[in-house]
Amino acid sequence: MDFRELVYGQKPFEGVFVFDVHGHIGFEQGSQLGPNDGESMVHTMDRMGVDGICVSFSPGIRGAWKRGNDQTKDTCKRLPGRVFGYAVPNPFHAECDLTPYFEEDLGFRGVKIHGNIQGETPENDPRYAHAFELANRLKLPVLFHAWMPYEVDRAADVASRYPDLNVIIGHGGLTFARDRAVAACKRYDNVFCDTAISSAPDGSIEWLVDKVGVEKVLYGSDMSFFDCIHTLGKLALAKLSDTDKEKILGLNAKKIFDL
């Protein structure tokens, strides 16, 4: 399969399993995003040949945690097999408990932590412990918003204390915190990186793969915050072998997500 021809011919990614580990649905208070509901995401995924995506509900991170997770649950119910969910905890509301979302298959496949938006709470804060214990028990992936070096270090700290869950460092592998992300991936085998970023030079994904090994890199696009077509195109045109591209696009995700 020649990935470059896909871009030139403007053809979707057929014949390869593509799973997006970093998605968002819902209204973004600070700025107007493009269409951000589940259905419009699936429309773009069909166009591009993306098989599935795991999303969190943005207003649920910024506001009422229960309503946010319920919105994700409804979307997963409406679009089974295409849209999966991250459960989002809240460190301030003592009554917050994510277990009901995992008692039966409601489409939830992981936990999303965004301490920065939630009052800049440290990512390894004890108030998130209930979510980590749940993820550890069910061997779930936990996606961290980790843009800054100290956020990457905190995510690594969680990985060290909960060996059975898999930590995904969101954005950190490509920002100026990338050296910390590489150190974390090398030190713990349950730490992974994703490719979600609005802008990074060509060659940055190749650098990441070279430093942490292709098994540690997962395709993530931050879709509905921004489009996925540029990240897909960047991967397709990257100087990586086709097997590496297939692993990044979906095979790696298959190992740590129960799909």
Partner: protein, 249 residues
């Protein structure tokens, strides 16, 4: 006995809360009773913090059949069909008895200039609807002069002024008749007295900033101010009743 109408109160679940804060509607109602606050103009936490469209609608549900709350919606200039157009927004407000609107330029990232919110403000002027906005978090005091001059026929109520802004507020109050100041945390020493002396009590609007502001402090600020009872009544409820009375939807 002095009765108050609160011009700045937020209902609904918030993301960041602290133990002991008045985090529920019941806690807010208890505080309003304790402070003799008869009614409160309320907007929804979700509309301000996380999801404006859903927050405005949630407010309707949470204040249905409750005459102690006067509804206020957060406005958003709509492009690419993101939210209701200005005309639909005002029709919906009419339908749901919403009598004032709040601007969030910094939180929602839009410009206050006519090319951005011109339609919304023209309709507000037509309906004599007061428009609320917070100093400090949403715009600077210097920019409030520009806002008053850009929309002279709209009554603008600026909350959250704090105690440092007197030198900037003075000239604006002289030049802008449509500038009204919320008293919630206007705690400058003798602030209320000096304001009434220089610029008249007609332009002070009592507000508390619940649940993050303190209602007990706000009512004491007016109760103990060195001003006449008529002035206290105007500030506590007279001015806001006049502004809301003029609204023609």
């Amino acid at each position: 006995m002095l009765r108050f109408i609160d011009a700045r109160c937020m209902l609904g679940e918030r993301c960041i809360i602290r133990e002991g804060d008045p985090n529920t509607k019941e806690a807010i109602l208890e505080l309003m009773d304790r402070c003799h606050i008869e009614k409160a103009i309320v907007y929804h936490a979700m509309a301000r913090e996380s999801e404006l469209p859903a927050g405005n609608m949630a407010l309707i549900g949470e204040t249905a059949g409750d005459d102690r709350f006067i509804r206020q919606w957060c406005a958003l200039p709509s492009y690419f069909g993101e939210y209701m157009s200005a005309e639909d927004f005002f029709d919906a407000m009419k339908q749901h008895h919403v009598t004032s609107m709040r601007l969030l330029p910094k939180t929602c990232g839009y410009s206050l200039r006519p090319h951005s919110i011109g339609k919304l403000m023209d309709l507000a002027a037509q309906c004599h609807m007061p428009v609320f906005i917070d100093l400090g978090t949403e715009l600077t005091t210097d920019e409030s002069y520009d806002l008053c001059k850009m929309y002279p026929e709209v009554d603008l109520v600026f909350g959250n002024s704090g105690y440092r802004e007197n030198r900037r507020l003075g000239p604006i109050l002289e030049q802008c008749p449509n500038f009204y100041l919320g008293t919630g945390n206007y705690v400058a020493h003798c602030g209320i007295k000096l304001f009434c002396e220089y610029y008249g009590a007609e332009r002070l609007i009592f507000d508390t900033g619940l649940p993050t502001g303190s209602a007990t402090a706000a009512v004491s600020l007016i109760g103990y101010a060195e001003i006449s009872d008529e002035e206290k009544a105007l500030i506590a409820h007279g001015n806001i009743e006049r502004l809301l009375g003029e609204v023609r939807l």
